[in-house]
């Protein structure tokens, strides 16, 4: 998978990096105390890889992923996504940037319960302003890629967990984003469905110019990763193809 990147290097981002963070720290106020969750994260995420972000609860992985996809401001540091310094953008430009470039898969799927699977999958396109019927067509095509084209007319509550997750994946991919962020995709699924979903995600999501970050601590699926980053107490402690021993 190309030459390893010196993640400790300080300085400018390489142009080929999909996501590049430099000295990102994040503090939270808890009463009088200031808790530092991230301690100067320097990270480059490459496109075309399935990157796993692994860590215990409270290790800061959710904070890091939030910062990387432009929904949480870092206290300090610089974040570039495909060369754009996203926290230099205005609020509305940042929202628009997310809409065009980032696909989200949430742990709880967060599907809208009152619209059917195809419409749920079409939400980003509709939000971009695409005609509703065209957006739906493209969403159905995406659902077919994910092998649930026959469920397109069903409401989320009529679908199994794995099917809902696939609808969520379809929603994340339907607008062809360059960055896909996936939060605990298998947490709510049994082992076999989780596996199937991940296989599908790997098949469909991974593309030449697309970066794909998956936050998980599900060790059953670590073997699917191209790169695994381990986060402990706000610092990257491991970066490699496989999990270090002891995890």
């Amino acid at each position: 998978m190309g030459t390893p990147i010196d993640t400790t290097a300080i300085g400018g981002c390489r142009p080929e990096a999909a996501i590049c963070t430099r000295a990102v720290t994040r503090d939270f106020q808890a009463g009088q105390q200031t808790i530092t969750v991230l301690h100067g994260i320097d990270l480059d995420i490459r496109a075309g890889e399935l990157t796993f972000l692994v860590g215990e609860s409270g290790s800061g992985k959710t904070t890091l992923i939030s910062i990387m996809c432009g929904i949480l401001w870092p206290t300090q540091g610089e974040v570039k996504v495909f060369g754009t310094d996203i926290y230099e953008l205005s609020d509305s430009d940042l929202v628009e940037f997310r809409l065009q470039n980032i696909g989200f898969i949430f742990q709880q799927y967060n599907l809208i319960p009152s619209i059917d699977a195809a419409n749920n999958a079409a939400v980003p396109l509709i939000a971009q302003g695409m005609d509703r019927l065209e957006a739906r067509e493209r969403a159905v095509a995406m659902l077919e890629k994910l092998n649930i084209g026959d469920q397109a007319d069903k409401l989320p509550r009529q679908l199994s967990g794995g099917q809902q997750q696939r609808v969520a994946i379809a929603r994340a991919l339907v607008h062809e984003p360059r960055l896909v962020v996936c939060d605990e995709p298998t947490a709510a699924l049994d082992a076999s469905s989780g596996r199937r979903v991940m296989d599908l995600l790997r098949d469909v999501a991974v593309a030449e110019d697309r970066a794909c970050i998956i936050v998980t601590h599900d060790n059953r699926i670590f073997d699917l990763a191209d790169r695994i980053l381990v986060l402990e107490d706000g610092r990257i402690t491991h970066d490699g193809k496989d999990m270090p021993e002891g995890h």
Binding site: S66, R98, I102, S114, V123
Partner: protein, 377 residues
């Protein structure tokens, strides 16, 4: 996106109907109570509105309403006629009298004497008979609501009454808006009315004036006041005087004001609670949408559309309910002439708008405060 918002709203039928009910109930309460209120106090002006051709009413300076009037000497008519700008002026008598019915019952009535020659002062239309019947001796015309009170279930035409020891024969029924007290009204000629009402020397209650230029009625009334020393009110002013009299002398405005305020508060409570619950239920979806890239402005529009749909349906049903109420009771003599002033639905529309804006704003605060990052927790 707005379409999704509506789906989100109607997807939760319970809350949707709760919201619609809240708005419909508020609208119904506000519209219906305001309608009844306005119609009730406008009964104070019915005496003025029943006379369709007078631009200005001239009366003694101490007179206040059509029913609270002090009589003038009969030459007041000529004085008024002498004022430039007065196209015509006719005498008008209003007095209380007791009438003995055929059964021997005593009933208080209002006797209205209209100008002998022109019959100016009669209501615009008749239910039965024509105004020409007044040319027959001892004729009176009764108002339609008075008919139901004095002659329930029978035709009053041809009935004889005894007024001040005089014989009076009912020969017509006028289509008139009843007064606040729904007193039976008998219309007759001025000269006849003088006989029907036991009298003092001065009997002329009002002089009805037609203006050369009806648009200048206000200026004319001022000129009449200057030149004659009498009190002159334009039709609208005098109608307002009647309404003010009711407002000042009854507790009606307070009562209805309380009910309308209650309607508003109930609306805010029901809609506010339900809307907040609805938004809270969907806060995760809103958060997800915010993360995906939906701006706060779009979220606001979504909530606005949701509020708009609830408002449209609820307001529509509430107004329709009021219409059905008024329509259903229109045959009841108590509600005779009741109508929905066009301003009232607009007022309740504003109230609905305020309710939804207030509750929507409260509910939106949560959504807008939601960090998109919360979706990862």
């Amino acid at each position: 996106m707005l379409w999704i918002a509506i789906r989100m709203l109607t997807g939760d039928a319970q809350k949707f109907y709760g919201l619609v009910f809240g708005i419909a109930f508020s609208t119904l309460l506000i519209t219906q109570q305001l309608t009844i209120f306005v119609n009730l106090i406008e009964r104070g002006a019915s005496g003025v509105y029943n006379v369709s051709s007078a631009d200005v009413w001239v009366m003694d300076p101490v007179s206040r309403t059509t029913d609270v009037a002090y009589a003038m000497p009969s030459t007041a008519l000529d004085k008024v006629r002498s004022v430039p700008g007065v196209e015509w002026a006719v005498p008008h008598l209003r007095a209380q009298a007791s009438v003995r019915t055929k059964d021997g019952d005593l009933e208080g009535v209002a006797v209205i004497g209209v100008d002998d020659a022109t019959l100016i002062g009669l209501p615009k239309s008749m239910v039965e008979g024509s105004i020409e019947v007044l040319s027959q001796p001892d004729s009176v015309i009764i108002d339609d609501v008075g008919t139901t009170r004095m002659f329930p279930g029978q035709s009053p035409i041809g009935e004889r009454l005894e007024l001040n020891d005089q014989r009076a024969v009912i020969r017509g029924i006028a289509d008139a808006i009843p007064s606040f007290t729904s007193t039976v009204v008998l219309y007759t000629k001025y000269s006849q009315a003088l006989n029907f009402v036991p009298g003092t020397r001065n009997r002329l209650s009002f002089v009805l004036v037609g203006a050369e230029d009806p648009l200048q009625a206000k200026a004319l009334s001022e000129r009449i006041e200057d030149e004659t020393g009498l009190k002159a009110q334009t039709r609208d002013e005098f109608a307002q005087d009647g309404i003010d009299f009711i407002i000042e002398n009854t507790g009606i405005p307070l009562n209805f004001g309380i009910t309308v305020a209650l309607g508003f508060i109930v609306g805010v409570a029901i809609v506010g609670l339900t809307f907040s619950l609805f938004i809270r239920d969907n806060i995760k979806q809103f958060g997800a949408l915010k993360a995906i890239g939906v701006t706060n402005a779009k979220i606001r529009r979504m909530v606005a559309v949701q509020a708009g749909l609830v408002g449209l349906v609820g307001y529509g049903l509430g107004v329709v309910g009021t219409v059905f109420f008024i329509w259903g009771f229109s045959s009841n003599p108590t509600f005779k002439g009741f109508y929905i002033p066009w301003q009232i639905p607009l007022i309740s529309l504003v109230a609905v708008f305020l309710i939804l804006a207030l509750t929507g704003w409260l509910a939106l605060r949560n959504v807008l405060k939601t960090e998109p990052a919360s979706v990862f927790r």
